[in-house]
């Protein structure tokens, strides 16, 4: 028994070693380093002097950080709840379909999700193009004024929000469909026998039984959208990046464009703490909601 256990430990060490080596190198070490340099005035590459909490204190009065935090929160509001609702409605519609038609229609909704962000950017940049974009032709048809959407401050975040929902809804739709399939059909048959209408059936059966999936979709999106960068960066090219600033963009700008590793790390730590807190809350909530692992 004892030798067995020893043998187990050796084998486990061999099995786990490659994974552990990678994680120590690209996860644990960079995380420690990030906290470390956030208390220094280091450039991107190279060491700096200890400055205590100065980098953090400066964030409080930094207007660009405030813009970044506000835009990130705004983007979360624009995408998370609307994205969840849109995906739920589509999933309810797709769930009614059968066989080939269902997988075909699902593929149309899901296809954008598998595309790289820059492809999504190029397609929508073309659709929204001020001179030749098809959306502008549509506006013309309705006699409305054309709008340089991605160059207009008020339109930028809502438009990027719409594109993001278009791009990522497929993922949430899949989860909702899996949730809908796991509801036993007998329950619906019983409801039909009781003459329950469409809305009553949804409210009394579908919605409560789907709740674990709904909260999962909601929190997955919340965490994902806090980390927004790619779309904002791409659509801001040739526009107004400083007005459209979001948290990850600000980390990128400070570190890679202004060569201020220490100050950038303070922003990164803020984002880090924010996402970890939300994730821990999600983890606890899901645990409370019914022990979904």
């Amino acid at each position: 028994m004892l030798t067995n256990r020893r043998k187990d430990a050796w084998i486990a060490a061999v099995l786990v070693a490659p994974f552990l080596a990678i994680y120590l190198l690209v996860f644990v070490w960079p995380t420690i380093q990030m906290f470390g340099i956030s208390f220094t005035n280091a450039p991107l590459i190279g060491s700096g002097d200890w400055v205590g909490t100065e980098n953090y204190e400066r964030l409080a009065s930094d207007p660009r950080f405030r813009t970044a935090a506000w835009n990130t929160a705004y983007f979360v509001i624009l995408t998370v709840l609307p994205g969840t609702v849109v995906a739920l409605l589509i999933a309810l519609g797709v769930a009614r379909l059968k066989g080939r038609l269902q997988s075909g229609i699902l593929a149309l909704f899901f296809l954008p999700y598998v595309l790289p962000v820059s492809v999504v950017y190029l397609i929508w940049d073309w659709v929204l193009n001020f001179q030749f974009g098809i959306l502008m032709h549509v506006l013309d048809l309705f006699g409305m004024d054309r709008i340089p959407i991605m160059k207009t401050r008020e339109w930028f975040m809502p438009a990027v929000g719409v594109v993001t929902i278009w791009w990522t809804a497929g993922f949430s739709i899949l989860l909702f469909l899996a949730g809908l399939r796991s509801i036993p059909p007998e329950i619906y048959e019983a409801a039909a026998l009781d003459n329950a209408g469409r809305w009553t059936t949804f409210r009394r059966i579908t919605w409560p039984l789907l709740w674990p999936v709904t909260s999962l979709v909601f929190t997955i999106q919340l965490i994902a959208q806090l980390k927004i960068f790619d779309q904002v960066y791409l659509f801001s090219q040739g526009g107004r990046p400083n007005d459209n600033m979001v948290l990850v963009y600000y980390v990128f700008q400070r570190a890679f464009q202004q060569d201020q590793g220490g100050r950038a790390a303070a922003v990164a730590v803020t984002l880090f703490v924010l996402v970890v807190v939300v994730s821990v809350l999600q983890f606890q909530l899901l645990r409370l909601a019914g022990g979904r692992k």
Binding site: A9, V16, P18, V119, I123, V127, V251, F252, A268, F283
Partner: protein
Amino acid sequence: MTTTGLQRMNFWGGVITALTVLLALLWAFPLYWGVISSLKPENEVVRPHIELWPENLTFSHYYTAIFDTQIVTWYINSIAVAVGVTVITIVTSMLSGYALSQLQFPGRKALWWLILASFMVPTQALIINHFVLIAQLGLINTWAGIMLPQLIHPVIIIVYKQFFDQVPKDFREAAVMDNAGEFRILFKVYLPMNWGVTTALSIVTFIWTWNAFLWPFLSVTRTEMMTVPVGITQVNDAFGVFYARQLATAVLAGLPVALAYLLFQRKVTEAITLSAGIKG
């Protein structure tokens, strides 16, 4: 239920179905529009009205995209990086998922916590120190440098562990009785039972890595080392504005992952639901 009630329900059911199909077509329209515009001559795409089909269908933009940009080089980089990340992630995750599931060893709990922790940490926050690390290792502008920080996929270990947990203990006991070594058990008994999961997870890891933008964008400064999604955003600067040509590069960039999805629709669906913690 009365007949009229049933009829009314069928009527509204039909309306909902029709709306769903209509919305799906509208949803996919930007993709159609992107593809169709890439098949028009430049002078047709800038016409001041909507034309849903090209008057003169042309593949010339694909020709110029392939021969006048570095997209072929970017393809090679993307394939190398995506295959590398997929193979390394799947193998290391499977090995540690097996150890976590089947073996008792000191530090098992700590390892599990490390995995859960990495699940919550935003890798976007680590870009500064990833860059410092990769620069110190001298790997900026190399495949290895693009790959290394992308090897954090804790969800794959979690899925493997759960699958190994579900294998009945009898299999293992029988194998141990036969004096089979741990590696033999893993590769001859456990792995064959999970081939479906392994292919599903490999396909989505490939898609995720192919699509990665932020890190490949930061870790590469030389055009010839770029991956496809980063490279195609550079074409713009090189050409000025040629809309159709640009869309042709976009179509080429999205093609491998779109095909991977369309060919393995079932597997992708399975892997996505598994990775979200829902058993499909």
